[in-house]
Every structure is written in structure tokens, then in C-alpha cells.
């Protein structure tokens, strides 16, 4: 009886571990690039899009709807 229960727990944990190993094999197979190359590409994206980034460089006065005063100033 006891041996039977142990057997059941054993198979359940073996299944869980087998799934874990399958998952790890999948992840180990992912193609990787060097951090230096990845970092250079992240930096390149930033530089290329910096001019469009309003929060970074600001926009000409009046073209950011949030910076405009809400009330209309009369002469």
C-alpha cells in the first residue's frame, strides 16, 4: 500500500520534472546574440527616434496640446 503511494508521487514528480527539462531544452535552443550587439541596436533605435520623442526633446511651443494654456487669452 505504502509502496504504491510512493510510486504515484514519484511518477507525478517525474512528469513535472520532465516537463521542466523539455521547457529548459526549448529555452536553451534559443538563438542568442552578444550583449554588445544588442546594446548597440537599442542605442541605435533611441538615436534614430530621438527627434520624434516629444518628452525627450520637447516640441515647438504651441504644438503640444498639453502645454497650451486651456483658456483663450483675449487681447
Amino acid at each position: 500500500m505504502d509502496g504504491h503511494v510512493h510510486c504515484f508521487n514519484y511518477f507525478a514528480s517525474v512528469n513535472a520534472l520532465q516537463r521542466l527539462v523539455e521547457q529548459l531544452k526549448l529555452e536553451a535552443g534559443v538563438e542568442r546574440i552578444k550583449v554588445s550587439q544588442a546594446a548597440a541596436e537599442l542605442q541605435q533605435y533611441c538615436m534614430q527616434n530621438a527627434c520624434k520623442d516629444a518628452l525627450l526633446v520637447g516640441v515647438p511651443a504651441g504644438s503640444n496640446p498639453f502645454r497650451e494654456p486651456r483658456s483663450c487669452a483675449l487681447f
Binding site: 535552443g29 546594446a39 537599442l42 518628452l55
Partner: protein, 370 residues
């Protein structure tokens, strides 16, 4: 009774050098080989070489950022309790927000007017999202569901009447997002799973299992980069999923506490995370590792919400110490601290065109900063 399954001591010919040695299993391109300990060490060294330099070292030559002047330009008042979540409409102007008191409000952020309001049958509406068309919103929380409300401008119509229950989880809904269309919704739940649903039929299209605890956040990859999304949870893991197969394709476990927020870098090649361990981190998907940590000894409260500026150069992070820190993503340094909220910042999103960002707080208000 058998007690060893994987770690069996095999003695034989090494697959690399062919010498007779004690062998251990190694994985190369998902194939299992048997290497002697010498060759296994060499493989480890080669793998370590891929991590050759840090992001901030590569960015040393980049010009430092100047002073930032960012102020609260609009304050949205109207919630009766803690604001838990918000999302921008694609029109860059409307905002939907949800709070602990069960209210979901749609605002015009230019005028601060409330355009729609609905009361959910539950409290703690932890997730809300705007549909890409701008014609509907989705929300949910302690009701374990995600419901979609079509937005109508007809004064005679009761918004709650047209409510459609789409997702059903076995625990609270922590995050939701429409995919590229109004037709599908992705949800994350305290039951440890994420799920993809068809809005029209309410059918479960795909479920994502793998987190070991509550999933707290998710973000979809920018549409150009394909069908993946990233999720973060109480198990300290950030996981990247293939939406079609339901498979986890990459997992990252470097945080020391719950991950409250994940957000893709605008190019889709990386994502940032904010955690209760008081740090934000940047993970590059192609290098398959963490490439930057944004932290300071003086920051001891958890980061609840993160988002990138349009170019990805700035990372805005809302913290439980009521502040918002602005980080230089490349250099790893903090460029600004924004004060204003009178309680925890719980949610933060940059507007679709990057001209402003909105933060929501436990102080019952939302602030638009520019």
C-alpha cells in the same frame, strides 16, 4: 525503488574530446550531449563570453541628457477612491481609468471632462483597457472577469446595459489588453494564468500556463514584431509567450520580488519591468538576458508601473513612495524625480504619440505630465 533519474553518473566517451571520463549532460541547440567536466567548463566559458559588456558601457559615448522640465499639466479629479489602472485611447486624448470603488471613468484629458462613467458590480477594478477603435473599454478585478462595455454617446442609453462578460478566471483579474483589434482580449489573473479570448463569443482561444504564482501584468509586443507578449508575476519571473502556441519562449528570473509592471521597448527587442524590490530592469530578448538595472540606494519602495518614452531613451517609473522617477535607459542613471501625487503611484502610461504621460494614484487622482 529507483531514486535517481537525471543525475546519473555515466562514465564513457566525451562527445567533444572523446576521452574516457565521467560525463554530465549538456544541452546545445536543444540536443542533449554528454561532455566531460573539462569540456563542459569550456562551454560555460564560451557562453559567458556572449555577455561581454554592459549596456551603460556601450552607451558611454552617448550625449548625456539635459535638465528636464516636466510638470503636471492636467489633474483629473473624480474618482472616490484609489485609482488602480488607466489606459490611453488611440486618439491620444481620451483616457479610461478604474478605481477601488468600482468606478470606471472615461476622460477627455485636454478638457478634463468626464465623458462616460460606469459602476462595476465589484470593488477593486484592477484592470482597464481602451479598445483600438476607441469604441469600447474593457475592465475587471475582484469579479474574476473581464467585461467589455461599448461606449455610446446616446444620453438615453445606459452603458451598463450593454455590458458583455468576456473572460472568466478563477481569481482576480490583474491586467487586460485588447490585441490589434477590438475582437480579442488578453488577460492576466491572480490564478497564475494568462488567457486570450474572443470578445464576440467569449470563447477561450488560448491559455498560458507557467507562472508559479499570481500574474500581475502583461504587455503585447509592438505589432511589427509579431505575436508575442510578456507577463510578470509574484513568482518574480517575467515570461515571454507565443500567442499562437501558448508556449513560453523565454523566461527571466532576476528580480528579487513581485514584478508589478512590464512594458516592451518601442522596437520590440527588449522590455522593462518594475518590481517590489525597488528596481526596474531592462531585458533584451535577442541577448536573452537582463542588460540594465535602474536602482538607487535611496529608492527603497517598490516600482508599481513603468513605461518608455517614444524613442525608448526615457523610462518613466511610478513608485510606492509617491514619486515618479525618470531614468536614462541607455546610461542607467536617473534624470529626474517628479513629485505631485499624495499617495502611491499605481499606474503610468505614455500617450500613443509620446507627447505626454499619465499617472494614476491612490490619492484618487490622475495627472497628465508633459
Amino acid at each position: 525503488m529507483c531514486d535517481q533519474t537525471f543525475l546519473v553518473n555515466v562514465f564513457g566517451s566525451c562527445d567533444k574530446c572523446f576521452k574516457q571520463r565521467a560525463l554530465r549532460p549538456v544541452f546545445k541547440k536543444s540536443q542533449q550531449l554528454s561532455y566531460c567536466s573539462m569540456c563542459a567548463e569550456i562551454l560555460e566559458e564560451e557562453r559567458a563570453k556572449l555577455h561581454d559588456v554592459e549596456l551603460h558601457q556601450v552607451a558611454e559615448r552617448v550625449e548625456a541628457l539635459g535638465q528636464f522640465v516636466m510638470k503636471t499639466r492636467r489633474t483629473l479629479k473624480g474618482h472616490g477612491n484609489k485609482v488602480l489602472c488607466m489606459d490611453w485611447c488611440k486618439d491620444k486624448r481620451r483616457i479610461v481609468s478604474s478605481s477601488q470603488d468600482g468606478k470606471v471613468i472615461v476622460w477627455d484629458s485636454f478638457t478634463t471632462n468626464k465623458e462616460h462613467a460606469v459602476t462595476m458590480p465589484c470593488t477593486w477594478v484592477m484592470a482597464c483597457a481602451y479598445a483600438p477603435s476607441g469604441c469600447a473599454i474593457a475592465c475587471g478585478g475582484l469579479d474574476n472577469k473581464c467585461s467589455v462595455y461599448p461606449l455610446t454617446f446616446d444620453k438615453n442609453e445606459n452603458m451598463a446595459a450593454k455590458k458583455k462578460s468576456v473572460a472568466m478566471h478563477t481569481n482576480y483579474l490583474s491586467a487586460c489588453s485588447f490585441t490589434n483589434s477590438d475582437m480579442q482580449i488578453l488577460t492576466a489573473s491572480g490564478d497564475g494564468t494568462c488567457a486570450l479570448w474572443d470578445v464576440e463569443s467569449g470563447q477561450l482561444l488560448q491559455s498560458f500556463h507557467g507562472h508559479g504564482a499570481d500574474v500581475l501584468c502583461l504587455d503585447l509586443a509592438p505589432s511589427e514584431t509579431g505575436n508575442t507578449f510578456v507577463s510578470g508575476g509574484c513568482d518574480k519571473k517575467a515570461m515571454v509567450w507565443d500567442m499562437r502556441s501558448g508556449q513560453c519562449v523565454q523566461a527571466f528570473e532576476t528580480h528579487e520580488s513581485d514584478i508589478n509592471s512590464v512594458r516592451y521597448y518601442p522596437s520590440g527587442d527588449a522590455f522593462a519591468s518594475g518590481s517590489d524590490d525597488a528596481t526596474c530592469r531592462l531585458y533584451d530578448l535577442r541577448a536573452d538576458r537582463e542588460v540594465a538595472i535602474y536602482s538607487k540606494e535611496s529608492i527603497i519602495f517598490g516600482a508599481s508601473s513603468v513605461d518608455f518614452s517614444l524613442s525608448g531613451r526615457l523610462l518613466f517609473a511610478g513608485y510606492n513612495d509617491y514619486t515618479i522617477n525618470v531614468w536614462d535607459v541607455l546610461k542607467g542613471s536617473r534624470v529626474s524625480i517628479l513629485f505631485g501625487h499624495e499617495n502611491r503611484v499605481s499606474t503610468l502610461r505614455v500617450s500613443p504619440d509620446g507627447t505626454a504621460f499619465c499617472s494614476g494614484s491612490w490619492d484618487h487622482t490622475l495627472r497628465v505630465w508633459a
